[in-house]
């Protein structure tokens, strides 16, 4: 099975510009997540989709970040306008629902390294 794919792998933009990150989850995975790792620190939760609905967006930093998942398939994360502190690695992950009541372990993409200059 194809894994989680993210595009682009790297993006360098200037402060004030807009960037859109894309994630294609594993086929059949209803759960899609966005995480971010900044400066080698923890991998921080941004938001969680179940199919096309936002289940939890408590980790979104501010209204400059907009995530969508049209049709419950791929997802995009747009940052507009980008600020210096938005630099980091943005990971997308997907999962199924397991029988334990928890969602299954996350399958991560390789991430998009965003640099805002």
């Amino acid at each position: 099975e194809a894994g989680v794919t993210q595009f682009p792998s790297h993006s360098v933009i200037e402060k004030g510009q807009t960037v859109t990150l894309r994630c294609d989850p594993i086929s059949g995975h209803d759960n899609l997540y966005w995480y971010r790792r900044v400066m080698g620190k923890e991998i921080k939760f941004l938001l969680h989709f179940v199919k096309e609905s936002k289940q939890d967006e408590s980790g979104m930093p501010n209204n400059r970040f907009l995530a969508e998942r049209t049709g419950g398939t791929y997802s995009t994360l747009k940052v507009q306008p980008a600020e210096l502190e938005d630099s980091g690695v943005y990971f997308c992950a997907s999962s199924t629902r397991s029988g334990t009541g928890y969602n299954s372990p996350l399958h991560f993409g390789n991430g998009t390294r965003l640099t805002v200059t």
């Binding site: 923890e42 939760f45 969680h48 289940q55 939890d56």
Partner: protein, 113 residues
Amino acid sequence: DQQVKQNSPSLSVQEGRISILNCDYTNSMFDYFLWYKKYPAEGPTFLISISSIKDKNEDGRFTVFLNKSAKHLSLHIVPSQPGDSAVYFCAAMSSTNAGKSTFGDGTTLTVKP
């Protein structure tokens, strides 16, 4: 305030010896714990997990121990192999929000031949 902490940024061990990676958490609502392994330029991959109803889970060379009273878990790798060199992340989940995983900063393990 970080709810999952991995206080050792790095660990170096000799091939064949045991590697012990530690993780502490503060949120008593966490009841499911996972370890992920990450190679450079790749996303983390799931390694092993443990539910709070257990205190140990073993999978081949990897064993996770959970001490609920101390809010502490550890990952043991024995014997360690050079291919185990990677960043290891501890993650925690709560049944009240089964979709969200909270991660630590990671520990970089280096296994020397």
